[in-house]
Symmetry: C3
Subunit: 208 residues, 3 copies
């Protein structure tokens, strides 16, 4: 009960943080009111929609559950109306984002398993749930996604999804199986931000 | 009967107009013959294909109904062969496009309801049916979609889809439930073009 | 048996070549390790995933069959670790790519037919299987897809898929129905590379 409530709160906080990152990026690109709302919503819900299409969960929850739409719209309007205030919130927004990343990865992996799919599908789609919205945001803004370029982001989601699948296969108690992977992803993400961890690159020959 | 025929005619006229907008944009970007045909087809049918995937209508009608493919190909070839002529048709093409926008929004919303989904899904996917192809066109041309930036376009589709769902829930007669939302979307779109209505933007601080 | 094995080998060789083209493009754009792996995987498997969503094959084989993921990861790591070596392999990689193109087109068309869809769906999705990954790669790298611009690529896939559907409808022996369309696509592609065949363009008025 208490745990369910906490899960829901983290889920909506993650949606909120993802939507803020979408709305902020769209506002910077000078999109209009509708464009900002649309990008905020897609950043928050796009990953889950792709996951649901791939596991056969029709209609996708991001389309049918009004709480996600409402949360994204409120986050976008806040970003518009209180932009200077939101800008000052970089730190908490990043924390929410890291929490959302972990929770989306774990929730996505669990949902894929619950629909009867194998471990590979669950791990890949857990990651897609967490990072898909951010990739869609960047595709719509016609830029190479920061998800594919900066710090440990997708990899943290991948680690969280993988641990969630392991926990499920080893029949860990629900509390552990849910929060340990979220914590792993969250910690990896926050530490990589703090210590500026980056994955290696190879694009320029003189760096090789 | 007569009504059915009119509906089909508007449907194909909308497909035609959407395909012309896709082919024109692809030609300007100097894509080759195949690229122009592909972008025309995706602009005309992309929104409906995404809708069908989300509501579980497999295979998507845009893939299985040859009339859409044929209409898109004819529109693209016309755009190539009679480019100067098509350029002079800006006005009728915009009218067809506005009609197509309304009809796609209403048809998309109705199809989602017919597949048993709720009002939120129907409204969102009605809008996606209408604007999805244009967004896909712009993503493939590697630019931020004009749909997210210019005039009242997506919002007109949203209004049309919402009114269609309201009409369905209130059991309006079919004639009203079909054409009133199309007319609303069409009128919003044409008026916004005529009077240069735009949604507010917030991207540059000095405009805020 | 022998034929089955050859089919599987060509399938994995095609996956390998597609993944190399993805990894090479991602490395040039200076993406990090994860970005290169992700783009390689999506280039190799993206077309098949879209096909499976459209024909109702849930979950998509690209997500559930570990051989594709493993092949893509190995190809990406090779591209990173032995870049100078891979660069010298342009010629064999292009041959594998042309083989993969033909095989993906034919396999995609056959799978769509096997799921009970009509000829149009099969031909379109055969082509999507073959070129979808390359288009997704370019969308993620925020550029207009070379698939829509250069030489005979998509058209070769379309020809292969169409011939595969014709062979199926005319009940050709499996050996012919499989390899003749692959050969047609392969030959078209290789000849267009060799002779620099391009489809016409119309984008600049002085070229018209």
């Amino acid at each position: 009960m208490n745990e369910r409530l906490m899960f829901n709160l983290v889920d909506l906080a993650g949606t909120f943080a993802f939507a803020i990152s979408g709305a902020t990026a769209a506002r910077r690109r000078n999109l209009d009111l509708f464009g900002i709302l649309a990008i905020a919503y897609i950043t928050a819900c796009g990953g889950g929609i792709v996951r649901d299409l791939c596991i056969g969960a029709i209609p996708p929850a991001g389309l049918s559950d009004w709480r996600y739409l409402l949360t994204a719209v409120v986050a976008a309007l806040l970003t518009i109306l209180a932009y200077r205030w939101v800008e000052r919130l970089t730190y908490p927004v990043r924390l929410f984002d890291a929490m959302g990343l972990g929770l989306f990865a774990v929730y996505g992996a669990n949902k894929a398993l619950a629909f009867g799919h194998n471990a590979e599908v669950a791990i890949l789609l857990g990651m897609v749930t967490a990072i898909g919205g951010g990739v869609a945001r960047d595709v719509l803004l016609a830029r190479v996604s920061v998800v594919l370029q900066k710090e440990i982001y997708a990899l943290a989601a991948l680690a969280g999804a993988a641990l969630a699948v392991i926990g499920e296969y080893l029949h860990w108690p629900v509390l552990w199986a849910t929060w340990l992977p979220i914590l792993l992803c969250f910690a990896l993400r926050v530490l990589s931000l703090y210590f500026h961890w980056n994955l290696p690159r190879f694009g320029r020959e003189h760096q090789g």
